[in-house]
Amino acid sequence: MNCVIDASALRKLFGNRRAVDGVSLRVNAGEVVGFLGPNGAGKTTTMRMLTGFLEPTEGRVSLAGIDIDEAPIEARKHFGYLPEGAPAYPEMTVREYLRFVGRARGIASGDLAARLMSVADRVHLGRVMDQSIETLSKGFKRRVGIAQAIIHDPPILIMDEPTDGLDPNQKHEVRELIRQMGSTKAIVLSTHILEEVEAVCSRVVVIAAGRIVFDGTPAVFEAMAPSSVQRHRMDHVFRQLTADATEVQP
């Protein structure tokens, strides 16, 4: 029981639709888990249950050894979360918004300025710090979302499509950042980009129709493709794994 993220037998019903159907996930510090799956497979729903935003119909989640149902506030102190779509308050400037999240996350006012500087530097926000969020491009909005997730330097990071909408340079930068942080933190990120998994993840978890259909290293994942397949080997494996489970069974 030294897993930083410990989710067992998570199930989520929306009405009688099974969005997540028995997902268990244990992640240690130093692991970067790439969470893959077709659209509607249940990635976002699973991550929402990991953060406690959604209450599971069944199953338990504990973060840093704290049950999120029993001690939600304590558990929330241990993670940073980038929700799907990187929501933020449009009328605030980047600086105001990050200060708000920093304060709400309990960073002492004396440390706030330094944290803000370092985080702005890490995701390259310096130029837009005093611009209102509604005037930012999609990629910059995403970076603001990443910044708010890491501002308090949490041991757990849960990020729903962190590189969606970023240009190739920024994708590269963000992957570097995630890789660095991954040496000490437990990170779960969802993505539709399979190269990303190769580039940053130490582990691949594939979900299809609410169930985990693969859990292993990127190397093992790729090796599942027959040797006759030369290019896009991961895409090939992904298609094979998820082909017969694209729709959630009612």
Binding site: G52, F53, I73, Y89, A104, G106, Q148
Partner: protein, 247 residues
């Protein structure tokens, strides 16, 4: 983090956000304009030959009937529409503190609007010799009414992502709560209900408590009424968010 500091952080962000959009300016101008019109022309501040703010305070609840839903409709509907509710409810701040913080910010904003009517007060004090105690009581009663309307509106806005629906439902709900004390309504009940029921209806009515506060007698039961009504609505809001946030 010390307990209650989460509430403060939420309150400050919210309160500032009212002034970050043109909405605040529009709201304040409309409020002051209507308050002026009501008290000077319709209320006959001059004609009655008596310098006080009674007519102004009689109109304030009617103003709030439209303006409180306009403030409150954003409270939670907007968070859900933007998706920021996902950030807000995963911060290490208890939900009740978030609910209270947001409510106090909205209430604070409506009290700013009220405070900006001070020139009326100065004018009547300069023209005559009004009962200052009654004016203070009138302001307190008005603030209470806006508090209740905003608490109702905050609750309603948790149930929908659509701000227009939130506005209309809140306005109707506030109207009914307010109207419950009008003689027309009470007479209607008096016709076929026991005196106990009529008293009960009059008891929940905002109007009765408003008027009793206005008379300048701050009674314990009025304070209890406003306090418990707001607390109950905020508790309901907290439960509703927990229930609706993921949908």
């Amino acid at each position: 983090m010390t307990s209650g500091s989460g509430l403060r952080v939420i309150f400050l962000r919210e309160f500032k956000s009212y002034f970050a959009t043109p909405l605040a300016a529009v709201f304040l101008v409309v409020f002051l304009f209507l308050a002026g019109i009501f008290s000077f022309s319709m209320g006959g501040l001059y004609e009655r030959g008596q310098a006080d703010l009674r007519s102004f305070f009689q109109f304030v609840p009617w103003l709030y009937l439209f303006l409180a839903p306009a403030i409150a409709m954003r409270l939670w509907a907007e968070e859900r529409r933007l998706g920021t509710i996902e950030i807000l409810t995963t911060l290490p701040i208890p939900l009740w503190q978030t609910v209270v913080g947001k409510f106090l910010a909205a209430w604070g904003f409506s009290c700013v609007a009220l405070a900006l009517t001070a020139p009326l007060w100065i004018t009547v004090s300069w023209l005559g010799d009004p009962d200052q105690g009654a004016i203070v009581a009138g302001y307190a009663a008005s603030a209470m009414v806006s508090g209740i309307f905003l608490a109702i509106g905050g609750f309603v806005s948790t149930l929908t992502k659509n701000q227009v629906i939130a506005f209309v439902v809140t306005a109707v709900a506030c109207f009914l709560v307010f109207l419950a004390g009008y003689p027309v309504v009470l007479d209607f009940f008096r016709g076929w209900m026991s005196a106990g029921v009529v008293d009960a209806v009059a008891g929940v009515s905002l109007l009765a408590h408003f008027q009793s506060l206005m008379r300048g007698v701050v009674e314990l039961r009025d304070a209890v009424y406003f306090g418990s009504a707001i607390a109950a609505l905020l508790a309901a809001t907290t439960l509703a968010i927990d229930w609706k946030k993921g949908t």
